[in-house]
Amino acid sequence: MIRIANVCKSFGAVQALNDVSFEVKENELFGLIGPDGAGKSTLFRILISLMTPDSGTVALWGLDAVRDYKAVRKIIGYMPGKFSLYEDLTVEENLQFFASVFGVTVEENYHLIEEVYSHIAPFRKRPAGKLSGGMKQKLALSCALIHKPRLLALDEPTTGVDAVSRKEFWENLGAIRQAGVTTIVATPYMDEAALCDRIAFINKGRILSIDTPQNIVERTTQRIFAIRAANMRTLPALCRSLPEAIAAYSFGDSVHLAVNSHHTEADGIRQQLTRLSCEKITVEPIAPTIEDCFIITAKN
């Protein structure tokens, strides 16, 4: 298991991580959810021994990420945020190279990557640079997994990847978890958070909350209303102007309005919006999504 305790890291005047502590359990699929610049990449690099924290400790199965960095590097598989494989080498050559780096053969661990790799196997003779975004990510995942790491660290593996490839990628992560690999994955996509065992919200270098996606949703004290009106484009600003509003943002085909008070009812909101000359208003109380929770948490 992994224990991160009181980790701080600054770059000059910028504090990238501020007293970050959490634990990841054996065989867990742990999500680190936060926007660009939240400190996710820095946390990953400290976790896998690529950076040293200014203070605090990171322990992976009893190994200290600073002192025992050599041992740590044997048990981790890392996929950086930017596509970092060799674009002039073919799919197959990249995989073989990373197997050789860890002193294993592709054959001995093929069962582990089979599901991911089968998507790109038809293109095994193609240079990695000529793959589409989704396929590149699958190759990078195969390369990070080929030595059967205990911990798989994936830094924003699905940024810029289309919805179909993202879905496939997450299906693969589920299978990898079944194989007994602990996985930490960072993502700016809130819908992916629901697929993790546990998630941590991170923003501006701080962990805002850690729990299972279900608990995070259930423990939200705020109420959320999905609102629709004839003019959807002016609706977010109008909702925000309501006195009880904490946050109001577009969510697909509706606007989600978060309110603190449990006395607020749909009818009251409808009346207020009618007074603001909205037409065809529908107001419906809904269960918050992970994204609602993040927006509310980030606001506090």
Binding site: G34, P35, D36, G37, A38, S132, G133, G134, M135, E156, T159, G160, V161, D162, A163, V164, S165, R166, K167, P188, Y189, M190, D191, N203, M232, R233, P236, A237, A247, Y249, S250, F251, G252, D253, E291, F294, I295, A298
Partner: protein, 238 residues
């Protein structure tokens, strides 16, 4: 009035057909979502629309000019912004606006006026002398959008403008897009966030070089019996 008119657009690279007989049009002031899987041919089509690539065949008219015969005129009348290419990191906020204004031939006084307007709208007045590299991604993208529309183009192309941006800033960004559309600027935008597809007036979904769906988001969901855009996309693009 159509600001973009594409008829039988074909783009081939050797044996590979990146765009296979695309036909569609975008009206003035419309927000048009351009969706598709990675490698479906979106980027190629966008490059052609911006006059950066000459199509193999077909007729593409943007802002009243044919992209094959008058790419320079097209470029004068459009704005373009992407995650990769937008601002100069080593210049300040104000300098970036100045550079773009100058590129499009605005007068000094006009640039100064529009700079103030942009800074005020984005609440960046205090940060006008900050280097762009020190801004967060969200600020950068909002600034990049304002810079891409500084010359009031008739159409602006946005290539995955919100990739990696936090949920709040992403939505603020879309409010900028609404505002531009209100002011008559046509917005042509690609995204991987399916909720953002709902914010468009119309969307097209590309797969293997072809447009496989084109309509209002609500109509598409109804026709295909999908609950959400995400479901629809996975249904169509898989």
């Amino acid at each position: 009035m159509d600001i973009i008119n594409v008829k039988d657009l074909v783009m081939k690279f050797g044996d590979f057909t990146a765009n296979d007989h695309l036909t569609f049009s975008v009206k003035k002031g419309e927000i048009f979502g351009f969706l598709g899987a990675n490698g479906a041919g979106k980027t190629t089509a966008m490059k052609i629309l911006c006059g950066l690539l000459k199509p193999s065949s077909g007729c593409v008219v943007v802002a009243g000019y044919n992209v094959a015969s008058h790419p320079e005129k097209v470029k004068r009348n459009i704005g373009y912004m992407s995650q990769k290419f937008s601002l100069n990191d080593d210049l300040t906020v104000a300098e970036n606006i100045l550079v773009y204004g100058a590129i499009y031939g605005l007068s000094r006084a006009e640039i100064a006026r529009r700079t103030e307007a942009v800074l005020e709208k984005l609440e960046l007045t205090q940060m006008r002398r900050r280097l762009v590299r020190t801004l967060s991604l969200g600020w950068k993208q909002k600034l990049a959008f304002s810079v891409a529309t500084i010359h009031r183009p008739s159409v602006v192309f946005l290539d995955e403008p919100t990739s990696g941006v936090d949920p709040v800033t992403r939505r603020r960004f879309w409010e900028l897009i609404y505002e531009a559309a209100e002011n008559g600027i046509t917005v042509f935008v690609s995204t991987h966030y399916m909720d953002e597809a709902e914010y468009c007036d119309r969307i097209s979904i590309m797969n293997r070089g072809q447009i496989i769906a084109l309509d209002r988001p609500r109509q598409l969901k109804q026709v295909h019996g999908a609950e959400s855009m995400n479901e629809l996309f996975i249904l169509l693009a898989r």
